[in-house]
């Protein structure tokens, strides 16, 4: 692909230095466009799925099946007045939504979407992902404090306590994945889940080597903690509508509120993509080989076009699995009531933390047995 790109530049007569610079920028542009598209679709999907689960129809007036509803919402929020109370700290008030939104954008660049399409390929990618996602807590506390409103302060404090408590089982569950894969590099973690359990006819499907099978308890713990990190029901006490009138984002209006709103959905997508990458095999297909290869192998003989097809299929598998996980998250939102603040804390410290340690033990034993069996 790189050679093709250089060839185009050569034909047009532009020096190769520009080709090198722009080649590295293309993945970032791709990631930014993906972010916008994903969030637009996700807001609509949540409203539609919630409506179907409650025997209603979701938005269906703006565009066919309501596709342009999010754009209408964004335009409405853009045109609103930007209200700031008299006694707020204006710098911090404006800075808080940016602190919440910016790290999530960076995490989008770390995820391997297909085999070759990863914007930032670091040796310690997994570590950086969780370091970045902890910065958003600072933004929420800033938002709560700088609003000069007692409700927002309560919301910000609760959110900080919740985020810190639920990060610990999260990290320990992720630690077990690092044990299984032997590396912290995200593309390598996905590649380590290929191959199946053995070489026989049925067991060489990829699905048997996904990380969910040895680390099932870790999957459950990670799933629950990721819902808590994103502040969704049943853990959405910081922004509970009936108790705190929307918590830390009570005083925000216009584009700043839109940033908070989009940050929540972007974070939800990122957490789902992480679940899929770490536990469900990322872009790998559950069968033993890619469908495009088996279907089109004898028809298309040009290797580059076959590669393009394989890449598109990998993207499709990633997106399908991610939206399945997002559907589970929305389904849980529709069913369960909210947890109280102290019950939330005791659930994290007394139940999830021991469970994640048990998971780590099981995974370590499993990995030891597998390494022994392979030598």
């Amino acid at each position: 692909m790189h050679d093709l790109y250089l060839e185009i530049f050569n034909k047009l007569g532009i020096p190769t230095i520009f080709a090198e610079i722009t080649w590295t920028v293309i993945p970032f542009i791709f990631v930014a466009i993906l972010l916008i598209l994903v969030v637009i679709f996700l807001v609509l999907m949540e409203r539609k799925v919630l409506a179907w689960l409650t025997v209603r129809k979701g938005p269906n007036r703006v565009g066919p099946f309501g596709f342009f509803q999010t754009i209408a919402d964004a335009i409405k929020l853009l045109c609103k007045e930007d209200i700031m109370s008299k006694d707020t700290n204006k710098i911090l008030f404006t800075l808080a939504p940016m602190i919440v939104f910016a790290p999530i954008m960076v995490i989008y660049g770390l995820i391997p979407f297909t085999e070759k399409l990863v914007a930032i390929n670091l040796a310690a990618g997994l570590f950086l992902v969780f370091a970045l996602s902890s910065i958003t807590t600072v933004g929420i506390v800033l938002a709560g404090w700088s609003s000069n409103n007692k409700y927002s302060l309560l919301g910000g404090m609760r959110s900080a306590a919740q985020a810190i408590s639920y990060e610990i089982p999260l990290i320990i569950a992720v630690l077990s994945i690092a044990v299984l894969a032997g590396t912290l590099n995200l593309p390598d973690i996905v590649a380590a889940q290929a191959g199946g359990a053995s070489d026989e006819i049925f067991l060489n499907w990829n699905i048997f080597s996904w990380n969910i099978i040895p680390a099932f308890i870790g999957f459950v713990v990670f799933f629950i903690c990721s819902i808590a990190e994103v502040n969704r029901i049943p853990f959405d006490l910081p922004e509970a509508e009936s108790e705190l009138v929307s918590g830390y984002n009570t005083e925000y209006s216009g584009m700043k509120f839109a940033l908070f709103f989009l940050a929540e959905y972007a974070a939800m997508f990122i957490m789902s993509v992480l679940i899929v990458t770490l536990f469900l095999g990322g872009y790998l297909s559950p069968f033993n080989d890619y469908l495009s290869i088996t279907l089109f192998q004898n028809v298309i003989h040009n290797q580059t076009i076959l590669d393009v097809f394989v890449h598109i299929e990998q993207g499709f598998w990633l997106v399908a699995k991610t939206y399945f996980v997002i559907f589970m998250i929305i389904w849980i939102r529709a069913t369960l009531p909210r947890l109280r603040a102290d019950q939330l804390m005791s659930f994290a410290w007394k139940f999830l933390l021991p469970l994640s340690l048990v998971n780590l033990t099981i995974v370590a034993v499993f990995k030891y047995i597998v390494t022994l069996a392979q030598t």
Partner: protein, 401 residues
Amino acid sequence: MPVKNYNKSELNKEMIINVGPQHPSTHGVLRLVMTLNGEVIKDTKPVIGYLHRGMEKLAESRNYFQYLPMVDRVDYLSSFFCSAAFCYAVESIAELKVPKRAEYIRLITMEFNRIASHLMWVASFLLDLGATTPMFYAFREREDIVKLFEDLTGQRMMYNFYTFGGVKKDLPEGWMTKALDLCKSMPKMFDEYEAIITKNPIFMERTKGVGVLSQEMAVDYAITGANIRASAIDFDLRKTNPYSVYNEIDFKTHLAQNGDSYDRYRVRIAEMRESVKIIEQALKQIPGGTPEKLKVKSVNCGCKNEDCEFCGFDAQLVGKKLNAAVFKPPAGEAVSMIEAPRGVITCYVLSDGTNKPVRVKWRTPSFSSVQVLPELIKGKNYSDLMPIFGSLDVVLPEVDR
């Protein structure tokens, strides 16, 4: 702006917060001035009066028939009960007898209204706790009941259907079949709510042991209705002082032992199921049967005998046809008590022989329930406000009138 010279002891001051009149969950416009110490509630002061419409003063300048549509609006979620309270009081002063068919129609409509009011309570209680779907399911059932009422009276709320001495119109054709079909399908819907909510571990954690109403406190604050039955006090006006034709129907009252929010929820769900059984019995026992049958049989019978089932007094709709402009009950006073969904509604009417009442006084159950809120919530977490307040079933038009 940063505060420069602050006193260290002032840092531990308590925070006074306003759960203001505009709030998504105070079930109306109620203001609670709360003193919080961190997350623990020290004191609460409810401030009422934001929905005061002067219902009792309005009665002094209107005659009885002009006041009757306004009575529905004392509590618009249980408007048949308020209407019944006023009608029974005036019928007691004017000594009007109500025929049995009218009493049965009143009973059926009152019990359907009880189910609709409890469904509204389920929807808002669970929405406060964070479960967003039972609200839509409850409103789907309520829509069926409200459509029945629209066929019967012409409006979906504020029915203006009872009159002094009976009801204004007969049941329309096909109404009884629709009502019976609805009674058959409703228990299945209640089973669905129970599957989603009743044994849900998060719901049980949130409501069990929270807001325990002891028996002494309940009797001291004059709390009635499902709130007191959840504290194991067997007080149901339909059994102790039966009005209407409740003594001819066979039903049970449901009690619970602990008196916490979870028990109040269980008692109301059980009351909904019991109301369905009451309606089915009443639909079978109504004198005269369906309106088509009544019309045909009364034409064929024509005996004009007082005790005849089809053309006697008990098959009428109104005891005595009154002239609205000149209705003057004799001087006297009367009190009537009705078991409404939230408690006991009492209506006191004083008349002096003219066509306008001198004084109408309403005693509504939510007024007492709001007064017990500061006691129940002292020393508890701020997040316990919603389960406790929601389970008391307080509706602001009743509090403020």
